[in-house]
Amino acid sequence: MKITLKIWRQDGPKSKGKLETFQLNEVEQDMSFLEMLDMLNESLAVKGERSVEFDHDCREGICGQCSLVINGQAHGPESHYTTCQTHMRSFKDGDTIFIEPFRAKAFPVIRDLKVNRDSFDTIIQAGGYISALTGNAPEANNIPIHHNISESAFDSAACIGCGACVATCKNSSAALFVSAKISHLAKLPQGQVERKERIEYMITAHDEEGFGSCTHTGACAMVCPQEVQLLDIARMNYEFNRALCKAT
C-alpha cells in the first residue's frame, strides 16, 4: 500500500507546531498502525533525521500509553479500539492519513504526538483509592459481594486511563474517566467509607486541572476502548448530589 502521512510535529510545549508530510510506499495490510510509524521512523533514522515521537508501550490495548488522533478520531477509525490495536487493513492504498496528538488544555503537548497526562494522576491522588494500608485487610470472604455488583464494578474499573474520552469531548471533559473510578469504588462495599470525600476531592481536582464540564453529548463513550458506560457519569452525578446532602 502507498500511504501519505500528515503528521503533527512540535518541538516542545511552548513551540509552534505544524503538519509535516511523509510518504510510505511499502505499507502492508497486516501491519499495526504503530508498526507503520516504526517503519517511518526507521526510514528517518537511516537519513539521519529526528524520529517522530509517539507514546506506546504494551501494544496490546491495556496499558493506555498510546494515544493519537487519527483522521480526526481518537484511537483511529474503529470504535472501541486503541491506536495500538488498529491495523493498516482499516485503510486503503493511496489514503492520506492525518495524525495529531490528543488535544486538551489539561494535556499539553510534550513533543510531536506525545502529551502530558499527569493531570489524570493528580485526579486519582485526590481520592481515587480505598485507604486500606498494607496489613489492614480482613479475610477476603468475610464480605460477600453479589456477582453482578462485582462484575459491574469491574466494568468501571476496566478504564485504562488513556484519555481518549478527553480528546474526543468538545469540552475536553474527563467526566468519563473520573466517573469510571468513582463508580468502581462506589459500587463495592469496601469503597463505602470514603465515598463522600472521594467524590468531592476528585471533582475538585478535575476542575482545577483544567478539564471542562460534561454536557452529556456521549462522544466519549463511543470511542472508549474499554466501553466504559455513560451510565457511570450519571452515577457520578448521583454521588456528587448525594455528597451534598449527606454527612457521610
Binding site: C58, R59, I130, H184
Partner: protein
Amino acid sequence: MALNAKEPKGALKDKWRLYNEHKDLVNPANRKKIDVIVVGAGLSGGGASASLAELGYNVKTFFFQDSGRRSHSVAAQGGVNAAKNYQNDGDTIYKMFYDTIKGGDYRSRESNVYRMAQLSVDLIDHMTAQGVPFGREYSGYLSNRSFGGVLVSRTFYARGQTGQQLLMATYQAMMKQVKKGTLTQYNRHEILDFVLVDGKARGVIVRDLVTGKIERHSAHAVVLGTGGFGKIYYLSTLAMNSNVSATWRAHKKGAFFANPSWTQIHPTALPQAGDHQSKLTLMSESLRNDGRIWVPLKKDDDRLPNDIPSEDRDYYLERRYPAFGNLVPRDVASRAAKERMDAGHGVGKLKNAVYLDFRTAIGKLGVATIKERYGNLFTMYKKITGIDAYKEPMKISPAAHFSMGGLWVDYELGTTIPGLYAVGEANFADHGANRLGANSLLQASVDGNFVLPNTISNFLANEIRTGPIPTDTPEFDEVEKAVKDKLEKLLSIKGKTPVDRIHRALGKIMFKEVAMSRNEKGLIWAIKEIKKLRKQFWNDAAIYGEANGMNSELEKAGRLADYLEIAELMAKDALSRNESCGAHYREEFVSEDGEAKRNDKEFMYSAAWEWLGKPDWKLHKEHLEFHDIEVKTRSYK
C-alpha cells in the same frame, strides 16, 4: 565472594515468623530520616513504594512510562494463585509450595518458595480490601479457576485482566502516598546507573526522558522492581520499552546475575505475520482448557484448516501426553510445537504456527458457552488478525514471555551489593527453571507488599545515624560522567543501520539458539554472532537527535547496548549447564522418549554470574538442598 542465602534457621513453616521475630526494626520517628529509592511502579516496585511510604520512609519512585499504572504488570490476563483452599479441594500451603518447586524442576530455593505460598493467603485479602473486583460466584463468594501444572483450583482472577486490576489497586495505594507527601514519583525517568559509596548502593543516575537532563538522586537503599527482559528476543509478549538495563547496570556494579538463560517461552501467543512485526500478543493459557492443538499430518498441506478432515490432523499433544493432553505445562507445549514446525508441519503464511481449534468444544457446548468463557480473547484475536475464531481455528505460536533468571537475591531479597534489593520479575527467586501460570503476579505482589518492607528494615536499622547522603561527591561525579560519556558515544556512531533492525537480528539469533531448545554447537555459534552484532551496533547504528532533549531512538539504543551484552551471558549460561531442566532444554541431555533429563548430581544449583569486565564472567554456585520435598522426575505423560 561466597554466596550467603541468609536462610533463617528453623522448620520450613516457621522460618518467616522466626525471621520477623529476630530482625532489626527502625523506630517510626527515625523512618522519615531515611530515603529509599524504588525503581519500577509495577506490582513489585509499586507495592514496595506504597508499603514503604505507609511505614513512613521517604520514598522516591522512578519509572519510564508516563504513569505507574502502565507498568507491564497491567498486561497479565489469567490470574493470581493463592492457597486459600476455598474450593475445599485439599489445597494447602505445602501443596502450593510442592507444585511450585516441582513446576520449577527442582531448581529454586525452598525457603523463598514456601514463604511465597504462605503470604499468598494474605495477598488476596489485601487486594480485595483495596477494591480489586475478583471474579465471584452467585453466592457472593470468591471464585477460582484452574491453571496448568496443578491439580487444584487456586487461581483468583478478574476476568481476563487480572494484572490490570491488581496494578490499579497498587497504583492507587501509591497515589494516596503521593498526596500524603511520603512518596515522590518520577515518571518518564530512566535509570542509567548506580552509585556505590563504601560498597553500599547509595544512589542512581537517571535521565529525564522529557528534557534529556541527567539527574543525581541519593538514598540509604535502592530497590529494583524493573520487571522481565524477554524483550531481548525482540518479538515477545513484553512491552516495547521493557528492558534489562537497570538490572544489567547493577550487575556491572557488582550484583550477581542468576540463571540468565532461563526464559519461559509461552505456547499460545499470536504468530509473527511479517518482518515488520513488533510484538506478539499473548492468548491466555486458559484457552487450552477447551481448545485442541493440532497440525496437518501431511507436510506443507495447503488446504484451509476447515477442509482438513480429522484423519489428516495430528493432535500431537494428545498423542504424546495422554494424561495431561492439551494442558501440559508451558515449556512442554512450546517445545512440542517447535518440534512439529521444525519437521515441516507449521501452518500460516510463514509456516510458524499451529492450530488451536474450538470446533469440538463448540459442537459440545455451543457457541454461547464458549463466548461466555473466552469472549474477550476471541474479540482480541479478531482485532489483531481480522479472523473470526468461532468459525476457523486460531493460529498460535510460541513467544518469549517471562524471565525466570534475574538478579541473585538472598532470603531478604538483597543482591550481592549491600543496600541494593531486587523484587518481582527482576530477581531470580521462586520460579526455578520454569514458572507456573499465575505465580508471578503473586511473587511480584508479595515481594513488594509483604517481604521487602519487612526485610529492608534489617539493613536500614543501621542507617538511622547516617544522615542524608550528599550527591556532590566524587562517587556521584564519576558515575555521572561515565553515563554522559556513554550517551555521547552512542550519538557519535552516526551509522546507517536502524536500532530496531539490529534488535530484530539479535532476537532471531536468540530465538533460534537460546530459547526453547539449545545445543552446544548452536550456543557457540550464537556467542559468535552476538559479538559480531555488538560490533556492528557500535560501528553502524543509526542514532541521531540530541542527548539533552526527548529522544526515543537514543533510549532504545541504550537498552539494546545492554541486551547485546547480556545475550552473550545467556548463551554462556546455557552452555555451562550440561543438563536439561524446565525451560532449559539441551538437546544432548534428553531421555529416550525425548523428554528433559536433569542431572541432579552435578547441576543442583543456581548459577550466579559475577561480572569481570570486558565482558567476562565468573560462575558462583548456590547449591540447592531439598529437605521438605522428595526430588523426582517431572512427568506429565
